[in-house]
Every structure is written in C-alpha cells, then in structure tokens.
Amino acid sequence: MAVINIKNLTDLEPRFVGGHRLCAGCNEGTIVRQVLLAAHEYEVVVLNATGCLEVTTSVYPYTSWNVPWLHEAFENVAAAASGAEAAYKALKRFGEIPEDKQIKFIAFAGDGGTYDIGLQALSGALERGHSFLYVLLDNEAYMNTGIQRSSSTPKFAWTTTSPVGEVSPGKTQPKKNIVEIVAAHGVPYVATASPSHYVDLMTKVQKALSYDGPTFLAVYSNCNRGHRNDTALSIKVARMAVETNYWPLYEIEEGKYRITYRPRKPQPIEEWLKLQGRFSHLMKPGNQDRVQELQDWVNSKWELLQKKEEFSKTL
C-alpha cells in the first residue's frame, strides 16, 4: 500500500470527469474523485445505487465515468456488486478471463440506499462475504427527491418530511448507527471518512481495497441544498462535523477500533449546527436544551468510541 502523495495523484488520468450535473459545491464529486484516485493501482468496476450521484453523472448520451459503471436500482447496489463479483470469480474459474486479471468492485450509495431501502441487500452481501468496497455517501436525507428524512437524518434536523412546526422541532429520532450495524457483520474493514480529511479518506480506501472481502467506508457528504449551507463552505461544513466529533474519523480493522484523527480541541456542536439552515430553528431562543441534547449525544458517542479504542488495544 503506497503512501498517499497528492502531487503524484494529480498527474493520473481522472476516472471520474467533470461535466456532470452535481450541484455547485456538492461534496459527492470530490469524494468520488478521492476514492477513485486512491484506487488507482487497481482496475475497478463501479456500481451505483439510484441517487444524486447516479442521476447527475449518467445523463444519456453523456457519462462522467471512465471506468465500467452499472446502475440497477435504488435498494440493491450491494446485490448488484455481489452479482458482478460472482461473475468475475466464475469467469476466472471457467478460464474465460485471465487468472492474473485483478478487478476491485466499488459500490456507491447514499444514506437512503444504505440505512433504509438498501439495508437488507447490504446485510446479505456483507454476510456472504463478497469482495467489494461499499462507499456510503451520507448526506443524511433523501436529497435527490427533495430533502426527505431518512434513518440517517440527525435528531432535530429540518427536512421536508420532518418539518419544523408549532408542535415539532424537526426530526424527533436520533440518527441510526450504520457503522456499528455493518461492523456487527464481522467484516474485515469498516471506517468513517470526510472529504475534508482527504489523506485519511484515501488511506482508508487503500486499506479497504487491500482486503479480500466486504469493506465499508461511511463518508460524510453534506448537501448544500438539504443542509442549507453556503456552497462555498461545503468542505468547511464537513470539516466542522469532524472537529465537533459529530462525525469522528475512525476505523474498525478486523474488529479493532482505532481513531484516525483526534481534534486537538473539539468544537462545540453549535459551531457545526450554525453553518446549516436545517438547524436554524435550534439557534432561536428557547432551544438550548435541544442543542445540549445533541451535544450530549455527540459526547457520549465520542466517549464510547474512545473506550472501544482503548479496549481494542488489549485485544
């Protein structure tokens, strides 16, 4: 596994090219480029669930993909990856593709396609042990259909189906922990990442691809439209999610937790909330308890994560 050298990577022929129709300031394009650059040592096949990335990069007769790419439907990208990987193994076994040909399969899906409608297919593929990297682009709601809540949406966030009203402060349930759900399958490598910390992200992609088995990378991918943040501040919002410990960067490698980035001085959650219009109601007077609740949630998760890391050292 090579050390990430950004300067050299910029000389490579891009596998994901411009001209796509992602929104201005969308982090998804940035993340996909980072993932594919990190994978540059391998031949790759990309599988894509229905969602923003899929619709904006494949508008016929154009494509942004310089690698083989397949979109089937919304809920089944892990099953599609299973089938492609099965064909790859079978065609090798039948002697129809050369034994030394090596392909890595990379699946991209949003939080709807991962936490919600695609959870069963993901779980099945993880349990069966197909060799593929699943990259979750977590923008915390159904952004492609117009900002509807998913089970990844954080508590108190405004969405069009968890609106803020007289009797409701936005979403009333906390965010589901998909990383733990995936890790519970006992897969070899699970990690979180953020495009703001690109060396960390790309190192994790390379680590994941070094395994022969299912691996999972949950990437924070804020959405200007849905999070209501300034398009010029996309990476800053992602960075602040990390700096507040809302989105800690860590990995679970063969069951062992390791925090890969530790904010020197964790920022209060407000610093991240206030950048996003979806939390603007929390910035109004009388909502301090709700902000505190989110802060407590972040703190307890961070504490638990550190304990898991400590415990992992004893393994």
Partner: protein
C-alpha cells in the same frame, strides 16, 4: 437416456448440464428443490458455477443482472411471491438486454396465501419484457430449459426468459423423461456469446443503466419493442436444431386436432394435457373439438394464433389467473386482441379455472367445451367470463 425424476430435480439436472457461470437464487415453494438440488451439484464439485445464495428474490434478480451484464451465463429459479418481489428488476433486466433464464414453478399469489399451481405469477410478469416459454409436461420443461438458454443468448434476441411449468401438478410430479448427455447439452449450447459491452471489460469502460429523459427515453423503449420481432424466428431455429438432436419437435404453439374443430379450447401448461385427453373422449362422441396450447407466450404470437384459430367457430380461452377489476382473464384479452380485426372471427369466451391449485378435471374441460357449443347455439358467449369448478 431415460430417467424418472421429480420435475424440479430434473430441471436442476438440466441446470447442471448447462453449467451456468452464475446462479443467484432464493428458496420458495414450489421451486425450492431446483435451487436445493443445484446447490448440491455445486457442493459436489459437479459444476464450476458460482452459486450466490442471496437474501431475497429481489437481490437474486439484481445479482443475476449484474452477472449477466458481466458476460456470464446466468440462471435462477422462483415462483409466486418471489417472482412478484423481483418485478421491479424484471423490467430492468429485460430493458438491459440481459439474457437471464429464470425457472418458474407457477404458483398462486397471496392473499390468501396459497402455495399451489396457478398462473398469476407469470401473468404478472407479462408486461416486463421477459420472453416466456410454457410447458405441459416434465419433458417439455426440461427441453424448454435447455432451449431457453440458446434463445435468450442469441445475439438477435438478448432478452431474459421465463421457463414456466405448473407448481406441484408438474413441479412435484415424477415422469419418465428422455434426457441428453451432459456433453450433448454443452455442445448444443456452445459458449455463451460475448456481449458487445461487458461490465468487466476495464479496457473499454461502458456505463450501464444510465438516465434517459424526455429526449431519449422513448427511443430506447421503441428500440426494445422492435427487438421482439426477431424472437420467433430464433425460437423456431433453436427448436429445429433441438429436434435434430432429440427427435422432439417444438413450435410456437401446439395445435391439437384443430383442422376440423368447431370448438377450440386455448390452454397453457399442464391443463393442456387434460384438455387433449378430453378432446379424444369427446371426439369419440362425434364432437368436433380441439386444443390450442400456447408454448411461446412472450413475445405473443399474434400471427400464429390468428392462423391456428382461423377455422374455429367458437373459442374458449382458459385462464388460470384473473385480471381483478378487469374485463377477463389475461390470456383471453390477448387472444381477443389478436383476433380483433379478423373477418370471420370465431365467437370468443373466457373461463377462469384452477386458481390456487384447484384441480382442473376432465369433467371441467367437458363443461368448458359445452359452453363453447352453447355459445354456437345462442350466437354468443353469455356471460363472457365463466368461473369453472368454484362454489358460488
């Protein structure tokens, strides 16, 4: 070589002889044994197939699609709720021109839940773009399975295909059938033709499953509709090659004593056998009756049906499914559409029979022919749709 096997086991044996690259499947009654038996062949090392025991039928078809677009020969088996659960992916597989062959032991749809023979599952897939072969007997199911691979994969076709046979009545029946040697099957099929674009071709990357909007979607769909016109010729060519190998000849339809028949019953799958027996009985009584059995249901053989029913005076179409809230059973609608502009068309009536595994007896078939004769006397079918063998 002759063997006596349960049809599901026989189909698993056909799959072993075909030795697809990938089988992704999920168990469901009454097709479970196909997958079960096949996984034993995999476990024994009799085949090199990659078997993907998926967590649902939806994932089965999703995995099959990606594997097929990767250039693999791909099969699966299902029934009823399983086929219904695949429904979304059936459309995508057909429009993606992925020649997947799916075995269907036809079974009723819930509710009430019922595991027995009925055609509601495959009829629910009739607008998905899948080709469909139907089988009266175990022998036909075996022969259709092998031919389906060759038809679906033909570069002039490249559509997925359902191979239907009745749940339990056929799937769990033991018949003595003539089978081919493994080698004969493999040389008959040859290697899977390489698709023009493959998902695994990293040197020539292609994008599959793209977005096409108002400016292109309709051209995609028009082109797909056009492509079905090639299918019948290929079905007949494959049948001819198969006949050379086996002596068993198949067409698009099977016409049983139609030449001088006044009343014709149109049927699919196992009931066609009962119908032929009944025709023999009624013929002894001097009644001019015949049976038209549909083998190729998709694409729907409009010309052949017009031709086969050209001499009939009264035609009763037997549906083992119903279009709830609709005008009739689904097969009737299609037969009626095929004949709508014909001059001198026969009187047309529809019977609904055998839902949820309700036995279709020779007495039922006699009653159905009776309806056909009564219509001739009265000048019309009244009512248009009759339910047979049901307590009302």
């Amino acid at each position: 070589m002759k063997v006596a096997l349960e049809t599901n086991q026989l189909i698993a044996l056909a799959m072993k002889q075909i030795e697809p690259h990938v089988v992704a499947a999920y168990p469901i009654t009454p097709s479970t044994e196909v997958v079960q038996e096949f996984s034993q062949y995999v476990a024994n090392g009799d085949v090199k197939t990659e078997f993907v025991p998926v967590e649902s039928e939806h994932s089965a078809m999703s995995a099959c699609l990606a594997a097929s677009l990767s250039g693999a020969r791909v099969m699966t088996a299902t029934a009823s709720q399983g086929l219904a659960f695949m429904w979304e992916m059936l459309h995508i597989a057909a429009a993606s021109r992925a020649p997947i062959v799916t075995i269907v032991a036809n079974r009723a749809l819930s509710a009430p839940i019922n595991i027995h023979g009925d055609h509601a599952d495959a009829m629910g897939a009739r607008d998905t773009g899948w080709l469909q072969l139907w089988a009266e007997t175990a022998q036909e199911a075996y022969d259709n399975t092998i031919q389906a691979i060759k038809i679906a994969e033909d570069p002039r076709v490249r559509f997925p295909m359902l191979v239907n046979y009745d749940g339990f009545t056929t799937s769990h029946a033991v018949e003595t059938v003539e089978i081919l040697e493994d080698e004969q099957v493999r040389s008959f099929l040859g290697a899977a033709p390489k698709p023009k674009y493959s998902l695994l071709d990293t040197e020539n990357p292609a994008s599959f499953g793209v977005l096409a909007l108002q400016d292109y979607y309709m051209e995609f769909r028009r082109a797909q509709a056009e492509a079905y016109k090639n299918v019948k010729d290929v079905v007949l060519e494959v049948a001819e090659d198969y006949a050379k190998l086996t002596g068993r000849k198949y067409g698009i339809l099977e016409e049983y004593k139609l030449d001088d028949a006044d009343v014709v019953l149109v049927a699919m799958n196992s009931a066609a056998g009962t119908a032929k027996e009944t025709v023999d009985l009624l013929r002894k009584q001097g009644k001019k009756v015949g049976v038209l059995k549909i083998r190729l249901f998709r694409p729907f053989p409009v010309e052949e049906i017009r031709c086969a029913l050209g001499n009939a005076k009264s035609v009763v179409v037997m549906d083992r499914a119903y279009t709830y809230g609709g005008p009739s059973g689904p097969l009737f609608e299609e037969i009626a559409t095929a004949l709508v502009n014909e001059k001198n068309k026969p009187l047309l009536g529809n019977v609904i029979a055998g839902l949820g595994g309700r036995d279709i007896t020779m007495e039922d078939i006699e009653h159905v022919f009776d309806l056909g004769f009564k219509a001739l006397e009265k000048g019309n079918f009244e009512p248009l749709v009759s339910w047979v063998g049901v307590r009302e």
